[in-house]
């Protein structure tokens, strides 16, 4: 006689794994296996027609670390993250505070802030090209009204990266605003009343009451912004292609260029692994944040 409890348990286990298997097969094919394969590829030399690929250990990482271009790309990406993350979060917060207040044309304002979110980065690149083009671009024309000289925003190393950053902030801020807007609407109105009775200024209320209550949202948005600072690179294909002289080159574009333009998969793989290590650090922040959120419930 089989114990009915045991057989029930066994059946549950079989059902569980059966239900999971389609997703697990796909995840294995396009996430787990490629991750391991990337590590493996990064340990081999690039095969040429004369010399087949051979095991070289950490040689690819060493040559990456000795390559000044790689460090330039890392530096660029750090600047990219360092500018777009705080800028988009602060602008998103300001947008949300405004869009939540009693202002005229509020629904127009909200839609205007949010619209870039639904556009593809490639289209965003095209739209901004009209702004940046030297001579007849919008920025140059506005500058011209004030007698400023023409600036080749995308064509000179000093400005190309910042021009790219601006597009990213434009694209992201409205998206993050939505999360702040939702959080603002959960703040009970009696807090504002209490603050008014106490004679607290609007500034004090925002700084001391609203911002601390928005902390969990800020953490969530922060993690998203960090991931985006690796992921959002499509507009480079339109605006600068990483140039001039790699001044606006970012890591993911660098990986793409090495793998699919220069056909140097091992170097691309080694770069990928380094990016994945950074992303797993972000993951650690995220899991901490999930822990914190559960305390709020």
């Amino acid at each position: 006689m089989i114990d009915p409890y045991q057989s029930h348990k066994r059946r549950q286990t079989i059902y569980g794994w059966l239900l999971l298997s389609p997703a697990l097969i796909m995840l294995t094919a396009f996430a787990f296996y490629p991750t391991i394969a990337t590590v493996w590829t990064s340990l081999f030399s690039r095969g040429t027609r004369k010399r087949p690929s051979e095991f070289v250990g950490l040689e690819n990482y060493r040559s990456l670390f000795e390559d000044p271009t790689f460090w330039l790309v890392v530096e660029n990406n750090l600047w990219y993250a360092g500018v777009t993350i705080p800028a988009s979060i602060i602008i998103a917060l300001v947008m949300a505070l405004w869009a939540n207040g009693k202002i005229p044309a509020r629904s127009f304002v909200r839609s205007a802030y949010f619209t870039p979110t639904v556009l593809p980065m490639i289209a965003a690149g095209n739209l901004w090209l009209f702004f940046y083009t030297p001579g007849f671009g919008v920025l140059d024309q506005i500058g011209g009204l004030f007698g400023l000289p023409s600036v080749n925003w995308l064509g000179q190393p000093d400005t190309a990266l910042w021009a790219v950053c601006a597009v990213t902030v434009w694209k992201e801020a409205g998206f993050f605003m939505i999360f702040y807007l939702a959080a603002l609407q959960t703040i009970p109105p009696d807090l504002k009343e209490a603050a008014d009775i106490e004679g607290a200024s609007r500034w004090t209320y925002t700084w001391r009451v609203v911002l601390p209550l928005l902390m969990p949202t800020t953490l969530f948005v922060l993690v998203n912004a960090m991931i985006n600072s690796v992921k959002l690179i499509d507009h480079l294909f339109i605006l600068t292609k990483g140039g001039p002289s790699d001044a606006s080159m970012l890591l993911l574009y660098y990986i793409w260029e090495n793998a699919f333009a220069f056909f140097d998969a091992p170097i691309a793989a080694a770069t990928t692994i380094l990016v994945l290590i950074v992303l797993s650090l972000v993951a650690a922040v995220q899991f901490r944040f999930i822990d914190r959120r559960t305390h709020y419930r």
Binding site: T115, L119, A123
Partner: protein
């Protein structure tokens, strides 16, 4: 956008900020920012409807024309690109719905050994982004014969960890009584999933669908890598090729093409604005 109840409450605080001077200045700044934020789109509209020389000179009296759209339309197989994008988002969505429903259900309602470890493994995909794994995903797609196919563009995204997590949360909040009632009626496990859990999670499906469609309609890097013929290219890749400087197309025609590409999403956004915003919220916050 219509106002929800809590929003009206918080706006109707005793001292309405719009009354004060600083409130007025803020409202003005908010409007200015809104205009700045839409300006790239407005300039594209301006440029698309004018001859390029008139467009760049901001010749306000110049005639509005449609020839840029005709030229842009004739310059690339847009209809095919639209069709490919449509096929892509549909197949990704169907794949995601099936895979994430089954996996989400297993994680939410079935007790089995090894569940917690597998769940952690699945969550790892939230950070091992398909976007970053392009080198080896390309090799996998090549080995599976998926290069230059719509399925090849969609496959890496179908088992989405994000979707599995979302469905798991949705299924967890379904009352146990409904489940038990259906079982007493004699429903099989898949029957319970189909008759009880899937209908109960309808809002989550809608939210996930909107986010997924917007994401994959706009996706670029992976489709660029996998496709190499017009028969499979989605709109974003087609647009990037059309606008490449080597092709020497002028700003008015690029603007016209860009507007054509973003029009379906923009129209959808205007029509379903509230659902869109709520979809992004639901998808993000849960």
């Amino acid at each position: 956008m219509t106002q929800s109840a809590p929003m009206t409450q918080s706006a109707a605080a005793p001292q309405s900020i719009a009354m004060t001077l600083s409130g007025r200045i803020e409202a003005l700044l908010a409007l200015i920012l809104a205009v700045v934020w839409t300006s790239p789109l407005l300039f594209a509209i301006w440029a698309a409807f004018h001859a390029s020389t008139d467009a760049v000179n901001f010749n306000l009296t110049s005639p509005w024309i449609l020839t840029n759209f005709a030229t842009a339309w004739a310059g690339a197989p847009w209809l095919l690109y639209f069709f490919n994008s449509f096929l892509l988002v549909t197949s990704v969505l169907i794949g995601q719905f099936i895979l994430t429903t089954l996996a989400g259900f297993a994680f939410a309602q079935i007790e089995f050994r090894g569940k917690d470890i597998v769940f952690l493994l699945v969550l790892m995909q939230l950070f091992i982004l398909p976007e970053v794994l392009i080198v080896e995903n390309y090799a996998v797609a090549a080995r599976l014969g998926l290069l230059d196919s719509i399925l090849g563009i969609g496959a890496p995204y179908m088992a989405s960890a994000f979707g599995i997590f979302l469905m798991r949360q949705a299924f967890k909040s379904v009352p146990k009584e409904l489940d038990e009632a259906a079982r007493i009626e004699g429903c099989s496990l898949l029957g319970v999933l189909w008759r009880v859990y899937v209908p109960a999670a309808r809002p989550t499906y809608l939210a996930y669908a909107l986010v997924s469609v917007a994401t994959h309609w706009n996706n670029f890097l992976w489709p660029l890598i996998v496709t190499n013929s017009d028969e499979t290219r989605p709109l974003t890749v087609g647009l990037s090729i059309f606008g490449a400087p080597e092709n020497g197309v002028d700003i008015s025609i690029i603007s016209a093409a860009t507007l054509m590409v973003i029009a379906p999403l923009l129209i959808m956004f205007v029509l379903f604005q509230r659902q869109f915003v709520q979809a992004f919220l639901r998808a993000g916050i849960k």
